[in-house]
Each structure stands twice: as structure tokens, then as C-alpha cells.
Amino acid sequence: MTFVRFEDVHKIYRTGEVEIAAVDGVTFDVNRGELAVIVGPSGAGKTTVLNLLGGMDTCTSGTIRLGNDEISAFTPRRLTQYRRFDIGFVFQFYNLVPNLTALENVELATQICREPLDAAETLLEVGLENRMDNFPSQLSGGEQQRVAIARALAKNPRLLLCDEPTGALDSSTGTSILTLLQDTSRRTGHTVIIITHNHALTAMADRIIQMNNGQVVDVRTNPRPARASTIQW
């Protein structure tokens, strides 16, 4: 059952005279509860796609749907609400608020949405029950990314978007993060979209969307995705 749908989405950046088509007619679907991976080389337009989907940016043309909502038609205000209530976002550089503890960073998200999960519980679920009162600077990269994931999950979002979640991490930490994402997706039935330039990650995905030059070059489903913990790079 299609949950996310991109239909001929274009995103053209205009810098002065130069027009760059970061996303150039992208069409793909992702079903509910799937863990999708968008993979492609740097500059392929992956982040742009995710930003469009996450409501952080608007497309130049085409339609983007999530469930029954046509996101591409949202007003800025509606987009903010969309981000607030429907989307969980995990960034490559975690983007934790440095002045808030792990718990507070999660609360930062839970305090603004409708039916949040318990922040502490969520942190417990990501295995950080002992680091709740630590500041980001006192946490390792992996731990920070766990906090970021907890922050995204605690919102109980309809869609979890992760932009290069392992990009700044070493391989083993990256694996544990991916495992966390996969387990969460499986356990909670959350639809998760992960962006990566790393082909190794495609193994754990239900659906693999391959991009290049702003275009989707291949979409395939993986009937038997590997366990994330087995992935090595």
C-alpha cells in the first residue's frame, strides 16, 4: 500500500543565471511500514528529495503525497504542522541542541507534538537510559545519533526520515544505529526512509531507490532484507 508517493517532482535551484535541477523529475513510491533506502552518489539529489518529503523545502513542480496528504500543495504554516506532527528527522550531524541534555533534547520534540511517546522511555529504547542527563558534548557520535533518533521517534511520527545517519560515524557505530532504525521500524511499523551514498546499506532495505543526477535510476524491492547488524562497510 503506497504511503509515500513522488510524481514527477522537480526541484530547480536558481543561483543567479544558473539553474540547477537538483531533482529532475523524480517518481517513486514507498509503502507503509517499509524501510526504504535512497542511494546515490554525492550530488545526486537525495537530500533534496528528503527535504521535499520532510516539508523543509518545496518542490518546483510535481506532487508529493504522504498518505492522503498532498504535501507539495501545503502552505508554509501547514508544512510546519506537518513537520511538527508527522515527520521525524534524523540528521547526518545529529543537530542536537548543545545546551540541552539528552532527555531535554528529546523533550524538545515531545513537548510540541500531539501524542508523543515518553521521552525517557524512548531514550531507554535507544539504549541511553544512563546518559539521559548528559549534554551532547558529553556523548559520543553514536550516542548523539541515538538521541537524535530518540528525538525523532518520540514524536511518534508518521514517517521517519534519516539523512546519512551514519555519515559521521564509524562503521560499527553506524551498524548499531542502522540496527536501531531497522528494529524500530519493524517493532513499531514506522515507515523509515534512509538516505545514504553507501551501497552497503541497501541490503537492509525493503525498498531501494537509486538516484543519480537528480533522477531516479532504479527502484527495486528487497523481499528479504538483511539484518542491519550484519552489514559491514
Partner: protein, 1126 residues
């Protein structure tokens, strides 16, 4: 800009204009404010100095207690370096100007010189006469040209401006008006400004209330003694070329002053000799006149005496005559009586004779009758005999016998013969007898007839004699009566004469006594005059500099006050500038870590790299300084000067850029910025390129102490927690913002407080402390019988209440001053003007007020403490002192103060009396010492003679008050009438002009707030892009994003606001006490609304900054910001 490095610097400026702008703005503000404020005093001084130069204002002012002669003028003129000496006249008088009473100082105007002053441009076109000093500037009308014309000053405060054509009548002077002025009535033909009178206070005098209200110029010849000068004004060579405020000026003028002081004793003695000679001459003349008068009087007296003697002699002669007449009269009367008596006797005798004669006659007649009878008998006998004789004859011719018979018949002898013979004989005898008898009878008859005739003649004679005698007697009596009358008349005349003589004598005596007394008096006067001449002390010369000119002194003091403020105020701005530069440059360096690393890696030296930031900051600083100083130096002095213009009459303020100050301000501002830059860049420069290339680890989050307060902390929302932590994380920014906002609020509060306190002077003085609104000056000598005044005061339609008081000038000293003064008696006894502490011996001129009724004083003056408003009562045990006086004398309740009374000339009349201060009372204008009548009597051994009345007028409209004032001034005893409203309204102008200062403070405060808040927000936004982007991504609404950032600003603003209010109280107090003049206490209380306004304005500034910064927050692009770590 050739090298790539230089290009990079230029671009870093153009690419981060907002950051550059922050440095530029704060430096502009700081340097501009500092320079503007600092230049204010120099501008004022320059303006005054120019004004002095343009109007040829004197450098030295000579006053002699006995005036100057032309010899003095020549002597002064001959002194070294004395450029011009202008002898002049000056006198103070009470005058009526256009119906209003005023105390005026009258100057002589050198008519020709003044008239030659170019009328259209007096200041810059000096008259041809270089000898003409202290030139007034004509602002309206024309110069006085003929006797009886005058010019009045253009007073701005406390006086109604003169109208051309107004009449001025001088009514009383310090000495006899006629001794001073040749004219007492003048017509105003011109209005002037004068550099001698730049401030609204015109100086002091011994007349009336001691202060001069107006100044007027009249022609020299309208003074009574044009040749004796009262004042010499002189200029010193070269003194105009230097500023009067520079030491160089003193260096030029002081030697001249010293030289003049040196020749003073000699001149004083010479003047004394001159005056003595002159006076002696006059006295001698008077003496000879006196002598002449005396001789005249003596002569007149002697003549009078002689006349009186003569009159007395005449009277004596008259009396003698009268006596003689009386005697004569008496003699006459006696003689008459005698004569009458003798006449009566004679008459009696004669009558007796006549009677005898008549008796004889009668006897004779009877004899004759007998005879006749006998004859008849004889006849009959004969008849009988004849027949018988015949018979007898017949018988005998007895007749013959009868004849022989006679009587004897001898019948016996005769027989018939015998009988005849006898008968004849008888008959013959009888016949014979008969014939004899008949002869006898005839003879008898004849004799009788004769006798009768004789008797008749005798009687007739007697009768005639009697008649004649009676006539004679009547005549004599008449004569006597006339004589008597004459005598009586003479007596009366004598009486009158005597009385007249007595009168004349008395008159003479009286006249003599009078004349003698007069002469004695004249003599005594002469002696006195002589003694006076002999005792004539040499005059004292006062060599006065410009600093004794009230206007100059006030002006200088105000300039100094502003200078004092100008040093403190800008500190805030510099501090904030430093912090703005520090935070900005720190951020910039942080941002450019990698770049610095790259430069380092490329082989640029530390100095080179640091230079980039120094140039960046320095460029901002220099540009800011230039702009700030350019604007500040023009605007600020003008604005501050505006606040003073109501008090000064001076030309427009000159506002050149004072280079030393400008350079100082710029150096300070740029220096502070560079220093901050060095601090900011220093740590980064020390790091190795490798570490610099790595992104700096985000600043670690830290627990703050607030978190220890669990119940509080747990109640905060996450964003509040972020705010709290952020506040403490960026300490420099916190400091910058808090100090900036503190400064802003403090400035605002200072501005409002300044207005409050100056507004309060009158509001509190006349609204709360003084409950009366009318002051009536009285002449106690004329008061006793002024019943109409009493009626007027008691008239409920005019006054609802009044209280007589005694007000007099006193000098106050505290115990220390007193004991010092005793140990070292003051040299000069120049009395300090009111409110000024005298030079040599420290003492404070003040008023002493003694209310007539202690029970009612509370209805007229609220005697109470300022703090707490607790009422103070005036008792016999001590005095109440007003607050500012107590402050200036450092006197506390329970201390003693020494009080010396002053006479109208300002000299002390009594020894200093110690009195205990039992209370310090709220007061804003002038210094007062309140004393009970009891204590007054006891201490000064004198009855307090009421010389004033505090009234509560029943009328408030100006016209009604004017009428009341006129009615009061119509009374002999009333000397002045003043309504509080007049004072209050003239003060309003001053308050209004203060608005511009408040406005500048508000603007500066606003700019300060804007810069720090802008900088803070700017830095926050720049530094926390990712954080903001993150929360945007998390779905924060715009308002939530705003709040996330602005909560910090708001907290700092609130903190700064509170601190600012605290600092503002102190700053306001400093400013207020610094600008405060000695005689006035500004209000000390800052109104609650001022706190509210200051806080509200600060918050408003914060809101405005936030609104202005909003687009920048909006512009933060989630997509961009999240891409990578910067």
C-alpha cells in the same frame, strides 16, 4: 587593495555588513556621545570668550569705596600692560518700570561711543572708539542719546520684558538719590544684551531683597557727579587673544591685577588726601559761612537787645511821666480840694461876712426899723409932742426940750417950763432927736442902703466869685479828669508796652536761644564734619577679575558641571563598545577558524592574520568615530545649551570640533575596539593550523547553578532551560547586553529623573512646602499706622489668610567653620551672595525667617522632613534649617550653627550666635533658617520687626492678582508684592527647554539598546543557525522560533532593566547633584512613573529590535543550515 589578503579583508567587511555595522554604530554612539558631551563645556567657554572679545569685556574691574578721580584713572592707565581704561558710573536703585517695582543697577553709557556702534551688527562691528568697554548690544530700539533716555536689559526670566517707551522712575537709592542721579525719570528707548550680564541672575545689592532685577544704561551726564567715577573697567594687553579660561589668560591678567593692588595703597592715600582737601575746602567755606552767620546773628541779637533797652527806657520814661502826671494830678486834685475847701471857707467866710453883714444889715435894718420905729415914735412923739409942745410951746416949745431930751426925759427936771422947756426941750430934743434920729436914720438908711448895696455887691461878688470859682473848679476838675484819663490811658499804654516789651524780650530770648542752638548745631555739624574729615579713612580699592562677574561665574560653574558629567556619562558607552567589539570579533574569529588555519597553513604570520581583524575592527571604529564625533559634536552641545538658554543671554553656541577631544574620543573608542579584537583573536591565533582546520567542538553544554534548585528548574520548559543555559554560557554577550540595557535604562531614568527633579523644585516648593502664594515686603517703619493695609489683608475677598514674618539676611557657619574663622579672621569681608559660600571664611548666606505666630505657621509653610514627611515644630529651644543649607554646612539635627545677622548693606551686625538645629526641613529654593519669635528676642535682644507678610490670595486669575498687587503697592508700607504663579510660569520655560536634553538621553539610550540587542540577536542568529534550523525542522511555529531566541533577549533586557533602574537612581543622583546650583535643591525623589517610563521604553526598544531582527530569523533556511557543520 592589491593583494588577495587585502581583498579578502574588504570582502569580509562587505559580506558581513551587519556585524561591521554593530561595531560602527556602537563606536559612533560611544565616541559621539563622549565627544559631544565633552565638547559642550569647551563650546560654552569658547562662545563666552568670543562674546567677551566681541563686546570688549573688561579684564579687570576696579571699585573704590570713595570713587575715582581723573588722577586715579591716569595712574591706572599708566600701569604696564593696561590696554584700555574706561571710567564708568554705576549705582543701584529701586525703580518703577512701567508700573512695576524692581531693583535696578544703573550703568553709565558712553553716549557717543555707543551711538557709533553699528546698529545692525553690534557684535562684529566694533565702534570706532577703542576705549569703549563692556559694550552692550542693542537688540531693540535705539541708543539713548539725550538726557532722560535709558536702555533696559532684555531679561528672560523673572521679569516682564521692557517695552520701548516705558517710563522708568527711580524712587530710592542706597544713598540720597539726588546725590547719585541728576535725573530720576527715564524713558526706555532701547533694549540691550550685555556680556556683563550673561546669566539671568544680575548680581547682588544692598537694596530690597538683595538681588538685582534689571539693569539699565543711562547717559553719563544723568549721573549727579559725572566727574567722579565709581568704577573703572580695564582690559589687559593681549588678554583678548587668549581664551579667558586658559591659564595663559591668568598669566596675562594676574600681573596687572597684582600691579594694581600694589598701587592701590598709594592711590588710596592720594584719593584720601584729595577728598580731604576737597572736603576741607568745602568745610572751610562752610565754616566761614558759619562765622559770618554767627557774627550776623550776634549783631542782630545786640541790635535787638538795644532796641529792647530803648523800648524799656521809653517805657520807664513813660512810667515816670505817668507817675509825675499822677503826682500832678494828685497835687491838682489836692489843690483843687484845697482851693475848693478854701473857696468854700472863703465863701463861707464871705457868706458869713455877708451873713454878718446881712445880720448887721438886718440889725441895722432892725436898728433902722427901730430907728424908723423910733423915728415914728419920735414922729409920733413929735407928733404927740408937737401938740404937746405946741401945747407946751404952746406951752413951751417943749420941742426944744424934746430935742435935748433925746432919750432922756427927765420928767422930774422939767416942770411945765421945765415941762415946756422940758416939753420944748423935749420937743426940740425930740426934734433934734428926731432929726438926729432921722439923720441917723437917713444915715443909717444910707448906710444900710450902702451896706445893702455893699452886701448885694458882696453877695454878687460872692456869687460871681462862686460861679467863677465853680467854673474854675469845673475846669480844673475837667482837667483833672482828663489828666486822670490820660494817666489811665498812659497806664494802659504802659501795660501794653510792658507786655510787648516782655514779649519782645521773651521772643528775643527765644530767638537768641534758637540762634544759639542753631549756631551750636551748625558748629557741632562743622566739628563733626571736621572730625569726619579728620577721621576719613582711606578708600579701599577692590581689584576684581572676571570671576567676580555673576554671569561669568554662573556660566563657568555650569560649564564645569557639564564637564564633570561629561566624564562619567560616556563610560557606559565605552564599556558597551568594548563588549560589542569583543563579542562581535570573537564570533567573527570563531567563524573564520578554518580560514585562520588556512592562512596559517599558507604561511601568513600571526601579525598579518591579526591585522585582518584589527583592520576590520579598526575600520569600523574609525568610521564610527568620525561619524559619531561629527554628529555628536554638533548636536549634543546644542541640545544641552538649549537647556541653559533660558538662564543665559549669550550668542548662539559655537560648535567647532575640538580636535584634542575628538582625537581623544576616537582614540579611546578605536582603542577599546582594537583591544577587544586582540582579546578575541589572540587564543585562536595561538592554536595550530591543524586544530584550526577542524571544526571547533561545539561549546559544551553545562549545568548551571539554577539547576540545583530543582523545583524551579523542573518547572521550566525546555526552551526556558535553553535560555537559562545560554545566558550563562555566553558570558561576554550576557555582560554586553546587560550592561548595554542597564546603561539604556539608566540613561532613560536619568533623563526622566532630571525632569522630575527640576519640575519638583517648584511643584514641591510651591505646591507642598509653601502653602502661601503671595509674598508682601513691608517697611516696618511705616507699618504702625497703616490701617488700610490691615483692612486689605483682612479682606476675605483678597486674602484667605496672612501671616506677618520677619525675614532678614544671615550668615551661617558650622562649628568647624566658626572656630576656624575665629582663629583666622577673614581678610576681605566681601559678603557672599545668597547661597554661595564666601571665599575667605567659609560661611553660607541664608535668610532667617521669624514667623509672628507659631501656631499658624503650619498654615503657610509646611515644616517637615523631606524623607518621611514628618512634621517639624518650631520651638524656643532651637531653629529649623532648610535641607540644602544643612547639606552644604554638613549640619545634622542637634548640631550647633553660628548665625550672624546682616544689615541691609550686607555687613554683619552681630556677633555669631550659636543656635541648636532642632530639625532639618524640606526646601528647594533658597536657604532659610526658621526661628521662633521667643528665641529671636532672647538671642538677638531685639524685637522681630515684621517686614513681610505671607499671604494666601483669594484670587488666582492673573488680572485679579495684578489688581491686588496694585492695591497693595498703593500702600505706603508695602515695598514689594510677589505671586508664586509668576515664578512658576517663568520656570516652565526652563523645564520645556530641558525636554531636548531628555530627548537626547532617550535617543542615546535607544541607540544603545538597539545596538546591543541587535548585536546580541545577530550573534545569536549567526551562531545558532543550526539550532534554529533544527527546531524549525522539528516543526516549531514561527512564534515559537522567535520566542526560542528572544526569550534570551527578553531575560537579559529584564535583568538589564532592573539593574538599569538601580544604576539610574545613582546616575540620576550624580547628575542632579552635579548640575544643581548652590541656592537650589533639585527634587530628590524620582517619580514612580519615571521608573515605569524608563522600563517601558527599554522594553519597547527590545521589542523594536526583535521585530527588526525577525526577518533574519525567518530567512534561516533549514535546508542550507543543516547541510554541514560550518
Amino acid at each position: 587593495m592589491h593583494t588577495a589578503f587585502q581583498k579578502e579583508i574588504l570582502r569580509s567587511i562587505t559580506r558581513s555588513l551587519s556585524r561591521f555595522a554593530a561595531i560602527f554604530a556602537i563606536v559612533a554612539l560611544g565616541a559621539g556621545f563622549y565627544a559631544g558631551l565633552r565638547m559642550c563645556a569647551p563650546d560654552m567657554r569658547l562662545t563666552l570668550d568670543r562674546y567677551f572679545d566681541q563686546t570688549a569685556f573688561m579684564d579687570v574691574h576696579l571699585v573704590s569705596t570713595l570713587g575715582f578721580s581723573s588722577a586715579d584713572v591716569t595712574a591706572v592707565r599708566q600701569e604696564d600692560n593696561v590696554s584700555v581704561v574706561m571710567p564708568s558710573h554705576q549705582a543701584d536703585a529701586t525703580a518703577t518700570i512701567g508700573g512695576r517695582r524692581a531693583t535696578v543697577r544703573v550703568h553709565s553709557l558712553p553716549g557717543e561711543a555707543a551711538a557709533s556702534t553699528h546698529a545692525s551688527d553690534q557684535a562684529s562691528t566694533p565702534p570706532n572708539d577703542s576705549q569703549y568697554l563692556n559694550r552692550p548690544l542693542l537688540v531693540a530700539g535705539r541708543w539713548p542719546q539725550t538726557s532722560g533716555e535709558c536702555m533696559l536689559d532684555s531679561s528672560k526670566v523673572f521679569a516682564h520684558t521692557a517695552q520701548l517707551g516705558d517710563q522708568v522712575a527711580l524712587t530710592a537709592g542706597i544713598t540720597d538719590l539726588a546725590d547719585t542721579f541728576a535725573h530720576t525719570h527715564f524713558t526706555v528707548v532701547g533694549v540691550f544684551d550685555s556680556s556683563s550680564y550673561v546669566s539671568f541672575s544680575r548680581g547682588t545689592t544692598s537694596l530690597n531683597d538683595g538681588s538685582i532685577d534689571r539693569v539699565m544704561y543711562i547717559l553719563q551726564d544723568d549721573f549727579a557727579h559725572p566727574a567722579t567715577y565709581t568704577d573703572l573697567y580695564l582690559t589687559v594687553r593681549g588678554a583678548a587673544d587668549v581664551s579667558t579660561f586658559q591659564p595663559a589668560y591668568r598669566e596675562l591678567v594676574d600681573p596687572v591685577t597684582t600691579a594694581l593692588e600694589k598701587i592701590a595703597p598709594e592711590r588710596e592715600v592720594a584719593r584720601l588726601a584729595e577728598l580731604k582737601a576737597e572736603a576741607q575746602g568745602e568745610l572751610d567755606e562752610k565754616r566761614s559761612e558759619y562765622e559770618k552767620t554767627r557774627v550776623d546773628a550776634d549783631m542782630r541779637l545786640a541790635q535787638g537787645q538795644a532796641e529792647l533797652g530803648e523800648a524799656a527806657a521809653t517805657l520807664a520814661a513813660l512810667e515816670e511821666q505817668l507817675g509825675k502826671a499822677q503826682l500832678d494830678y494828685a497835687a491838682g486834685e489836692a489843690r483843687l480840694t484845697r482851693e475848693q475847701e478854701s473857696f468854700a471857707a472863703q465863701t463861707g467866710e464871705a457868706e458869713a461876712q455877708l451873713d454878718a453883714a446881712r445880720a448887721e444889715l438886718d440889725a441895722r435894718t432892725a436898728e433902722l426899723q427901730q430907728l424908723a420905729d423910733a423915728l415914728e415914735a419920735l414922729q409920733a412923739q413929735i407928733g404927740a409932742l408937737e401938740p404937746a409942745v405946741a401945747q407946751l410951746q404952746t406951752a413951751y416949745d417943749a420941742a426944744l426940750a424934746a430935742e435935748a431930751l433925746g432919750q432922756v426925759v427927765d420928767p422930774t427936771s422939767g416942770a411945765l417950763a421945765t415941762q415946756l422947756g422940758a416939753a420944748q426941750e423935749g420937743l426940740a430934743y425930740t426934734r433934734q432927736a428926731y432929726s438926729a434920729q432921722s439923720a441917723l436914720y437917713a444915715e443909717g438908711t444910707a448906710a444900710t442902703e450902702r451896706a445893702r448895696a455893699q452886701l448885694e455887691a458882696g453877695r454878687q461878688e460872692l456869687e460871681a466869685g462862686e460861679k467863677q470859682a465853680r467854673a474854675q473848679f469845673a475846669a480844673a476838675r475837667e482837667q483833672l479828669a482828663a489828666a486822670k484819663q490820660r494817666i489811665a490811658q498812659g497806664r494802659d499804654e504802659l501795660e501794653v508796652g510792658k507786655r510787648q516789651l516782655d514779649d519782645a524780650q521773651a521772643e528775643y530770648q527765644e530767638g537768641k536761644a534758637d540762634a544759639e542752638a542753631e549756631l551750636a548745631e551748625a558748629h557741632a555739624a562743622l566739628e563733626e564734619a571736621q572730625a569726619e574729615i579728620d577721621d576719613l579713612a582711606p578708600p579701599t580699592w577692590y581689584v576684581l577679575g572676571r570671576d567676580t562677574n555673576t554671569g561669568y561665574a554662573d556660566f563657568t560653574a555650569d560649564a564645569d558641571r557639564i564637564e564633570a558629567i561629561s566624564i562619567v556619562f560616556p563610560l557606559i558607552f565605552f564599556l558597551v563598545a568594548a563588549l560589542v567589539a569583543l563579542t562581535t570579533m570573537t564570533r567573527m574569529v570563531d567563524e573564520e577558524r578554518t580560514l585562520i588555519g588556512t592562512y596559517k597553513a599558507l604561511g601568513y604570520g600571526r601579525g598579518r592574520i591579526a591585522a585582518k581583524y584589527l583592520i576590520y575592527a579598526g575600520a569600523g571604529g574609525i568610521l564610527g568615530s568620525v561619524c559619531g564625533i561629527g554628529i555628536g559634536s554638533q548636536v549634543l552641545p546644542q541640545v544641552i545649551w538649549r537647556a541653559y538658554t533660558t538662564m543665559y543671554t549669550a550668542p548662539a553656541l559655537l560648535t567647532p570640533v575640538h580636535l584634542p577631544i575628538a582625537l581623544g574620543a576616537a582614540a579611546a573608542a578605536v582603542g577599546v575596539t582594537l583591544l577587544a579584537t586582540i582579546l578575541a583573536v589572540e587564543t585562536s591565533l595561538r592554536e595550530s593550523p591543524a586544530t584550526l582546520m577542524l571544526p571547533r567542538a561545539p561549546r559544551p553544554g553545562k549545568r548551571i547553578f539554577l539547576e540545583r534548585i530543582r523545583p524551579f528548574w523542573s518547572r521550566l520548559s525546555f526552551s526556558q532551560k535553553v535560555t537559562a543555559r545560554n545566558l550563562f554560557r555566553y558570558k561576554k554577550r550576557l555582560l554586553m547586553t546587560v550592561i548595554g540595557i542597564t546603561g539604556c535604562t539608566a540613561l532613560l531614568l536619568t533623563g526622566f529623573a532630571l525632569k522630575d527633579s527640576i519640575g519638583d523644585i517648584l511643584d514641591r516648593q510651591y505646591g507642598e512646602v509653601y502653602l502661601y502664594d503671595t509674598t508682601i515686603g513691608l517697611d516696618p517703619d511705616k507699618l504702625d499706622d497703616d490701617t488700610t493695609l490691615t483692612a486689605l489683608l483682612n479682606d476675605q475677598a483678597a486674602f484667605t489668610g496672612y501671616l506677618p514674618v520677619r525675614t532678614e539676611g544671615v550668615r551661617l557657619q558650622n562649628t568647624t567653620q566658626h572656630s576656624r574663622a575665629i582663629r583666622a579672621p577673614a581678610g576681605g569681608d566681601a559678603t557672599p551672595a545668597h547661597g554661595k559660600v564666601g571665599a575667605g571664611d567659609a560661611s553660607l548666606a541664608s535668610y532667617m525667617c521669624c514667623p509672628s505666630d507659631l501656631n499658624r505657621i503650619d498654615d503657610f509653610i509646611r515644616l517637615r522632613t523631606r524623607i518621611g514627611s514628618s512634621p517639624l515644630s518650631l520651638s524656643g529651644s532651637g531653629v529649623l534649617l532648610t535641607e540644602k543649607a544643612a547639606d552644604m554646612l554638613s549640619v545634622k539635627v542637634g548640631d550647633s550653627i553660628y548665625v550672624e545677622r546682616l544689615d541691609s548693606a550686607g555687613d554683619t551686625t552681630s556677633d555669631a550666635v550659636p543656635l541648636t538645629v532642632t530639625g532639618i526641613t524640606e526646601q528647594y529654593v533658597a536657604h532659610f533658617l526658621y526661628i521662633s519669635p521667643d528665641l529671636y528676642r532672647r538671642v538677638f535682644d531685639d524685637r522681630p520687626a515684621w517686614n513681610g507678610v505671607l499671604g494666601k490670595a483669594a484670587v488666582t486669575e492673573e488680572a485679579a492678582q495684578e489688581a491686588l498687587s496694585e492695591a497693595l503697592l498703593g500702600e505706603d508700607a508695602v515695598t514689594t508684592v510677589q505671586f508664586a504663579d509668576d515664578i512658576v510660569s517663568s520656570f516652565d520655560d526652563m523645564l520645556n527647554s530641558l525636554n531636548s536634553v531628555v530627548l537626547v538621553l532617550i535617543l542615546s539610550a535607544g541607540m544603545l539598546a538597539f545596538i546591543v540587542l541587535y548585536n546580541l540577536t545577530n550573534l545569536n542568529v549567526l551562531e545558532r543557525r543550526r539550532e534554529i534550523a533544527t527546531i524549525k525542522v522539528l516543526g516549531f511555529y514561527e512564534s515559537e522560533v522567535d520566542a526560542y531566541i528572544y526569550r534570551e533577549t527578553a531575560a537579559l533586557t529584564a535583568l538589564g532593566c532592573v539593574l538599569g533602574l538601580l544604576l539610574g537612581v545613582g546616575l540620576a543622583r550624580f547628575v542632579i547633584t552635579t548640575v544643581e546650583v548652590d541656592v537650589v535643591m533639585f527634587g530628590r525623589a524620582i517619580h514612580p512613573m519615571s521608573y515605569a517610563y524608563s522600563a517601558a521604553l527599554t522594553l519597547l526598544f527590545a521589542v523594536v529590535v526583535n521585530l527588526a531582527m525577525r526577518p533574519r530569523l525567518r530567512k534561516i533556511d533549514m535546508v542550507e543550515s543543516l547541510k554541514s557543520v560550518e
